[in-house]
Amino acid sequence: MTENGSSVNVPPRIALDRGDNDVWHLQLAGEWTLAQSETLSTIDRSLPAGFGDSAARGKTIRVGGEIDALDSAGALRLARIVDGMEQGGAAVDLEALPQSQRNVIELLKGRLPPPKTPRPPREGVLAGIGRVTVAKFTEGNAFLAFIGELVVRGGKLIAFPWRIRWREVVAEIEAAGLRALGIVGLLSFLVGMVMAYQAGATLADFGANILIVNLVAIITLREMGPLLTAIIVAGRTGSSYTAQLGTMRITEEIDALRSIGISPFDMLILPKIIALMVVLPLLTVFANLLGLLGGAVVAAYRFEVSFAVYFDRLPEVVDLTTLMLGLIKTPVFAIAIALIGCMQGMRVAGSALAVGRATTVSVVQATFLVIVLDAGFSVLFNLMGY
């Protein structure tokens, strides 16, 4: 809509000449273009204050002058000024403008929205809380439905164990267990070392170095081993379950399975749950071992508790009950991790983007649930007197 292609960067100007009779003159000049938007946005300040209210009522305003260039931005601005004058009761006469510029203004004036469209009312805090609550409940419901399906289908398959897809179970055990040994072992070893350092730093002041064994052993077996392993597995395996099932949903592989007459639950989900229930206790035992070893290394080299003394004392401070109190939690963690991973994967719909989002949600939820369950176990064991 530029009248004049060549840009010479002349800011737009506007001036009102109030004659003594009923005809006023509005003189325009410069470039009314997007490039001049800064000047344009404040251009009505060069008009007399209160103009457009009632000062011009009954007057005729002749718009004239030489506009060098006019584009959509300039035309909108100009049309708004014209609107303002007309609302103030003036008659606006555009005859003096070139035909093309006049056409644009005529097209726009009277059709512009109010300068500031009122924002849609913002959602109140209560409404927000309500919406989030409903969403969480829906999510919780889906989780319960998933548990229900597990119980019904799993229960049936336990009665006919040869129908369980053992080949898939074995493959999942390898992926979730064997290949996780490295990371679980390394991290447990390091955490064992860290615990021994922290315990030792305090205990050494009292010459009670030997108590490092008590501290490291009890914390590792009862809490750190099971919890750390579960969290690593949630991040490593739970997320891969979500990603795998989610991708299979997107590529219609899940539908393809159904069309072949195979239940995705039997083929994909149940083997994962069974595998993780087998793997997590085993991984935890491994993590316990390496955690104790890490503690032993620090105790020996930093706090003068030799390996012999350390491992001699171990059976005195912990017994099978301590180990079992840690291990008994792990199948429950396993079910939680596998269920959340699979559920989030099966809920993926739409695009590849949804897979990434579901994976994140799956890790957060699984980690959260594992820690909540662990807290629950602690309370329970405490009530039982352990």
């Binding site: 059709r111 929205p113 590529t251 539908d255 393809a256 159904r258 069309s259 072949i260 007459g261 239940s263």
Partner: protein
């Protein structure tokens, strides 16, 4: 073979099917045509029992799909082969293993026999040499043919094709068209092809059903459907691929000025 009786189906507020009746004859290739988003894929899901109609019945060989028990439903699905839009091959298995998958899942055949069946199926779609390739290494047309071989592995009686021609070059489209027709006749299948490629699909169809806006707007042999265009402007628009007509009239009723915030409008 397959009957839809006054089927209603909606997704949220959006009505997908508003009381449609359809009939798919045994041994025929029936092509279901319709603009994108008219529920063609939903139709296949209804037949496969993955979704249930709000009202009305879907009958497959005398069995009401929505009422079938889990076991009967899975047995029924085993009699149907489905070719998915993008093939949906299992990406962690080779082409040969993909085709063998349904056989291993549902039969106790020994490996030598499975191998021979797989080779036979792959030969039928012209992919015998690709049996050890992974799906990622296949072109779009090859992937679709491999998926077709897998869908045929259990010798289904009914074949459902979901947009088999989408994104195919003319040559592989021609190959697929000929395959669909040949397999149907050689094996005595009942085939349903869901697509929006009018001309190509009409060329192999025994019967054509055109759906739009939640209802059937044309049904019959290709000639009959072409003849019905006079009474049904939407059908004429779809068959001709015209840009203006009843099919997109309802698409955007609100004037542009309303969205721009310009009061009044022209």
């Amino acid at each position: 073979m397959i009957e839809l009786d006054g089927v209603h189906f909606s997704r949220g507020a959006q009505v997908i099917f508003d009381g449609v009746d359809m009939h798919f004859g045994r041994g025929e290739v029936t092509v279901v045509l319709g603009p994108s988003g008219t529920g063609k894929t939903t139709l296949l899901r209804l037949i496969g029992g993955q979704v249930r109609p709000a009202s009305g019945r879907v009958m497959v060989d005398g069995i009401e799909v929505a009422r079938a028990r889990r076991k009967a439903l899975y047995a029924l699905r085993r009699r149907m082969g489905v070719l998915f839009q993008n093939g949906a091959l299992f990406t962690d298995l080779t082409v040969g293993e993909n085709v063998a998958f349904p056989l291993r899942a549902h039969s106790r055949l020994d490996e030598a026999l499975i191998r021979r069946i797989v080779l036979f199926k792959l030969e039928a779609v012209g992919l015998r040499s690709a049996r050890d390739k992974y799906p990622a290494a296949l072109s779009g047309g090859m992937a679709r043919r491999a998926a077709l071989a897998r869908a045929m592995a259990l010798d289904p009686e009914i074949m459902l094709y979901d947009e088999p021609f989408a994104g195919q070059d003319p040559v592989s489209m021609g190959v697929l068209l000929r395959l669909i027709r040949r397999l149907n006749d050689a094996l005595g299948l009942t085939s349903i092809v869901v697509t929006h490629d009018v001309k190509e699909a009409m060329s192999i169809a025994d019967r054509v059903i055109v759906i739009a806006g939640g209802r059937v707007i044309g049904q019959g042999t290709p000639e009959e459907v072409r003849a019905q265009r006079e009474q049904e402007p939407a059908l004429a628009q779809f068959l001709d691929g015209a840009a203006d007509g009843p099919l997109n009239a309802a698409e955007d009723e609100s004037p542009l000025s309303a969205d721009l915030g310009l009061g009044g409008g022209q």
